[in-house]
Amino acid sequence: MSDLETFRAEARAWLEENCPAEMRTPAKGDEDVCWGGRNFLFQSEAQKLWLEACVAKGYTVPDWPKAYGGAGLSAQETKILRHEMAKLGCRSPLNSFGIWMLGPALLKFGTEEQKIHYMGQIARGEIRWCQGYSEPGSGSDLVSMQTFGEDKGDHWVVNGQKIWTSYADKADWIFCLVRTDKTNKYHGISFLLFDMETPGVSTKPIKLISGNSPFCETFFDNVVVPKHQIVGEINRGWDVAKYLLGHEREMISGMGGDGGVTSIGAAMKATLAEEPVLRAQMALFDVDNLTFRAHGERFMDEWKTGKAHPAYSNLMKYVGTELNKKRNELVMSIGGSQALEWESERANGGSKARNWLRTKANSIEGGTSEVMLNVVSKRILEMPGG
């Protein structure tokens, strides 16, 4: 047996031994997702056991180094582990913006102390993070942001407002872009970390068209942030932010459809048989969906071997999010009047309608489709003009 096959067998045996049966059923909704953090309430003993087992093994962040709470797995081993987890239907033991976004940024820009401290907390699910980027006046033009940190020697005093802060009302800490030099647009921003319980921090949920409130407005009123809580150099936070946005785009582009290559048409065969035009739309969608999967696979293979253009994730984000919106339009059309029901148990609490509305943000958050097209045009196609 090759090393990878040995690893596969071991991983499988470990999962079978440690993943409780309850955690091998699909999550029904957001409440079944483990986000960790100081105030997280486990939905079941099984959810808690599953997290603890993964933390002990380093499997909440399998590809992170062992010193920072991971299992130190190679890319291939991580892929095998995920594949085996999918085969057994194992739920993700821990979801977090710390894992997806802050961790990779710390790995690249953080000090050794920061990696051990913050990445360890993330890996163990102890601290739940949120992201403070957008401001009311700074959406696509993020670099125009105004939240200001005044230099007070060993600390900054931060004042301002962030918006679209995901789960800010549930998060323990925030990684936040703060202007530390008003005279330099790009090189006047710092990447700061601070506790959401710091005096002067307050949040207010924003109700979306989906009826849910995954985002907040976040206010900073004379918030004191010690100088050692900066990632990277002073005034070079934009480099960290850009790196992190690349990760966010990859993450969102991966959402091109949660159903993977399995067509959603098969389950709706009867409806589609009676509506040839809708069936045709579904068929063309499936062509695009299969295409996007192959495209993603090719992109990852080129990325790993350093052949992909550095701006290519912008293209994938554009294609993937537009595809996901289309998928949800079709789900609504096929679902008919039942998909319109907003609260009933029959309609699973309006999940189709709410998901459909939520996906409209996919092509806005993390860089709008229009900004993605600008970037592709200028950086990849090298079209002229500012």
Binding site: L284, R298, L315, V376
Partner: protein
């Protein structure tokens, strides 16, 4: 398999790219078009293809060929597409070889040497109506003497009149609409009762309408099994489809590159038109579509080469996506070129014509999207 080309494949691409650009660029195509060439391609170029090793790229090594797969054939086809190089490569070296690989040794020995030498051309006589409907084949092959007697008609037989042999699909049992009961035959172009009328197409290729009026063939003209022709036909069609898709990636990319270059040089309102966001966004979207097409074609090729169970689904999706993306590319190409794009002197219109023909070849995007739906269970 990794979705990137390996070193050998990159070398093949470089040599195919250099070869087509120097020996068969668009000016070569124009020359043969303008002289009203009855074949629609150069026999001399076909010989050069053989010298490069292209003609036998899919022929097994045991039969004297290169023994390569759809990925390699697709690499050559992409360069053919990019340069609009006219040749029998797609029909003869890709589709016909895919069928003949499944034939007995005598049949392979009869046809492979000529293909390897760049001397033999083979026509694919499948279509009976104006749209691709292989299961509806009605052409009849009755048992007669030591073999069969073929009666019926075929159309859209590309390079049929220039072919040495036609692969003819006919019904030995069953009724039109059934996949069982079909048989494939290798029919010599000089066979008594076979007549052809050549018609020039929009892209200057020449396709034949074929009449089979009691054409007598021996039993050894059968490719594969009697009544079991669907299996061979499917392989031949899928090879041709994924090949046409690869060629469309070349046509679409060629048109796209030409258009992007134009956007960077053409000036209006005192600036290059590539500065206009209205055009930049369309350009970026087109690029995404072509990149998607390139990806699904590579995926389909590699699944075919692996003999994967899902290959048929991916070939259908690849033919559909390549068709849609290439079509978008040539339409945007002509529009973004403005008036000059409408002139015969400028090349972009030639790409539009080629796209139309390749889209129709072995089933258009709508036909294949329909198959994707059926294979996906609805």
């Amino acid at each position: 398999m990794a979705m990137t080309l390996n070193d050998d494949q990159n070398m093949l691409r470089d040599s195919a790219r250099d070869f087509m650009a120097s020996e068969a660029p668009v000016t070569h195509f124009r020359k043969f078009r303008d002289m009203g060439c009855k074949d629609g391609f150069s026999h001399g170029l076909w010989k050069q293809f053989a010298e490069m090793g292209f003609t036998g790229i899919l022929i097994p090594e045991a039969d004297g060929g290169m023994g390569m797969g759809q990925i390699e054939a697709g690499i050559v086809l992409e360069e053919i597409g990019r340069n609009l190089s006219p040749s029998p490569f797609l029909t003869t070296s890709v589709a016909a070889v895919a069928a003949l690989k499944l034939a007995d040794k005598a049949m392979r020995d009869r046809w492979f040497p000529g293909i390897l030498a760049g001397e033999t051309v083979i026509g694919i006589a499948i279509e009976e109506g104006v749209k691709h409907r292989p299961e509806k084949i009605a052409c009849v092959a009755e048992r007669s003497g030591n073999g069969f007697k073929l009666t019926g008609q075929k159309q859209f037989v590309v390079q049929g009149a220039s072919s040495d042999m036609l692969i003819v699909a006919a019904r030995t049992a069953g009724a039109a609409g059934e996949t069982d009961g079909l048989t494939l035959f290798a029919v010599d172009k000089d066979a008594a009762g076979l007549s052809m009328e050549a018609a020039r197409l929009v892209d200057s290729a020449v396709a034949a309408h074929v009449k089979l009026d009691g054409v007598q063939v021996d039993a050894d003209a059968v490719i594969g099994e009697v009544d079991g022709g669907w299996a061979v036909l499917s392989k031949m069609l899928d090879a041709g489809r994924v090949g046409a898709a690869a060629e469309m990636v070349g046509v679409g990319t060629g048109a796209m590159d030409m258009t992007f270059e134009y956007l960077k040089t053409r000036k209006q309102f005192d600036r290059v038109i590539g500065e206009f966001q209205a055009l930049q966004h369309r350009a970026a979207h087109l690029y995404g579509e072509m990149e998607g097409a390139r990806s699904i074609v590579l995926k389909a090729q590699s699944l075919m080469d692996e003999g994967h169970a899902k290959a048929e689904l991916y070939v259908a999706a690849a033919k559909a996506k390549a068709g849609l993306a290439c079509n978008l590319s040539v339409r945007e190409g002509v529009q973004m070129h403005g008036g000059i794009g409408m002139t015969d002197e400028y090349d972009i219109g030639l790409y539009m014509k080629r796209d139309r023909s390749l889209n129709e070849f072995f089933g258009d995007a709508y036909y294949h999207a329909d198959r994707v739906a059926t294979m996906s269970g609805y």
